[in-house]
């Protein structure tokens, strides 16, 4: 270790009294100890990952909006997703000819659950509309990664696909037994399935009944 040397040097016999030769080396050990202690402290207290956020746009709440101002959605494009207790999802489509809801289906948040339904239906609608670009979102992302296109181009292309008029429109409703986690999960599915058009809407009594009857069949 580096330390202060030259203790007990003393004067040589007979010579002129010389100033003690002090070594300039200083013991660094305590300083290094302190340094590492502080490093350890800061390493443990630092949280490196910043929280992430999910952006939500809600429609403007305005009593002045009349029935005819509201956007009409083609029945074939819409799916209503109802969130309920125990992480279950009940979803239904509207029959195009009768305008009545079709039989509700119970599913969950697993990979083969609501995601498969949303992806499948979305693809079907894209193909029906003659729009062939549905699968190109990963391609655009890959091109961006390889620096073939810049970020703005990638974003523009992806949002064009997401907001395509032929795509699926998801109406999200949650009942009183649903958890906040379910809401975030379903919004997450919107991101994963590249669905650009969705809305969070208040649940109606008819749909509460619908959930109740659907859940009754599963509990039997």
């Amino acid at each position: 270790m580096a330390e202060i040397e030259g203790g007990g040097g003393g004067h040589k016999k007979g010579g002129k009294p010389k100033g003690k030769k002090m070594s300039t080396r200083v013991d660094f050990t305590p300083m290094v100890d302190l340094g590492f202690l502080l490093i350890t402290f800061f390493m443990l207290t630092t949280s490196m990952n910043k929280p992430k956020t999910m952006e939500i746009n809600m429609p403007v709440k305005d009593e002045q909006i009349t029935e005819k101002d509201k956007t009409k959605v083609k029945a074939s494009q819409a799916i209503t997703v109802l969130l309920t207790e125990n992480n279950k999802i009940v979803y239904y489509f509207i029959n195009e000819t009768t305008g009545e809801p079709e039989t509700p289906v119970i599913t969950d948040f697993s990979k083969g659950g609501i995601r498969a339904t949303l992806l499948g239906k979305n693809r079907e609608l894209f193909e029906k509309g003659g729009y062939k670009n549905f699968d190109s979102i990963p391609i655009y992302k890959e091109m961006y990664r390889m620096n073939k296109i810049d970020e703005a181009t990638m974003r523009a292309n992806i949002s064009a696909i997401k907001n395509n008029k032929d795509g699926l429109i998801v109406v999200i409703k949650a009942d009183d037994k649903a958890k906040y986690k379910n809401l975030v999960d379903i919004l997450d599915e919107m991101l994963i399935c590249n669905i650009g058009r969705y809305a969070i809407v208040d649940i109606t009594d008819i749909e509460r009944e619908l959930i109740k009857t659907a859940m009754a069949t599963i509990n039997k």
Binding site: M1, A2, E3, F28, T29, M31, V32, G35, F36, L38, I39, F42, M43, T45, T46, S47, M48, N49, K50, P51, K52, T53, M54, E55, I56, N57, M58, P59, V60, K61, L83, A174, D175, D176, K177, A178, K179, Y180, K181, N182, L183, V184, D185, L187, D188, L191, I192, I200, D202
Partner: protein, 200 residues
């Protein structure tokens, strides 16, 4: 056996290089650290694949605990000073300069305005014991709406972030969202943790 003379070497090592590295790391971690403000309630945010980072400035955070209590926080000391004065004017409560100062240093809080003076009178380390019942956000007495509205008057670039616990019941979240909508906040963010699940 003939003796082999091993030359005596000093055991002292030059530590300069190690010290350099140690202090370099120390500097890095010191600069990279931002201390978390102590929250009155522990919230376990849900996870998602969203990758947008939360901005540090111009943000107000509405925290919803899993038992339905609502907490409010706003970034920026100077904004908070203005905010509490404005809230005081609105509700005809006079806050002393000490209380204003104390409020500007406080992070998240969850008490009705009537109890705010009591909370501010406590020392920082005593606040943990104070039972915070959440900011009233129901239709009878919606103080959360006032906080949101006054915050937007104080800083018009402010964005709203909602940090809810996974297990929060949906009606509470709905109540907060509709409060925001009433106050014409139609764009807001949900704070989530990043999952490793791929977006395939």
């Amino acid at each position: 056996m003939p003796k082999v003379k091993v030359p005596r070497k000093s055991t002292s090592v030059d530590m300069t290089a190690m010290t350099d590295v140690a202090f370099l790391l120390l500097t890095f971690f010191m600069l990279a650290t931002q201390f978390k403000p102590d929250e009155p309630v522990q919230v376990n945010a849900p996870s998602s694949v969203a990758e947008v980072p939360l901005p540090d400035v111009d943000i107000m955070t509405i925290t919803i605990a899993n038992d339905g209590r609502v907490f409010f926080a706003m970034e920026g000391q100077q904004y908070k000073e203005q905010l509490i004065n404005k809230m005081g004017e609105l509700k005809q409560i006079k806050f002393t300069p000490e209380e204003v100062k104390s409020f500007s240093l406080m992070s998240s809080f969850g008490v009705p305005l009537s109890q705010l003076k009591q909370l501010l009178a406590l020392k920082v380390d005593e606040r943990g014991q104070f039972k915070q019942n959440g900011i009233p956000a129901d239709s009878l007495n919606n103080e959360l709406a006032d906080w949101v509205w006054q915050s937007r008057l104080v800083n018009n670039n402010v964005r709203v972030a909602i940090k809810g616990d996974q297990e929060t019941n949906y009606p509470v979240v709905k109540q907060v969202i509709s409060t925001l909508q009433e106050k014409k906040v139609n764009r807001f963010n949900f704070i989530t943790n990043l999952t490793t699940e791929s977006a395939e």
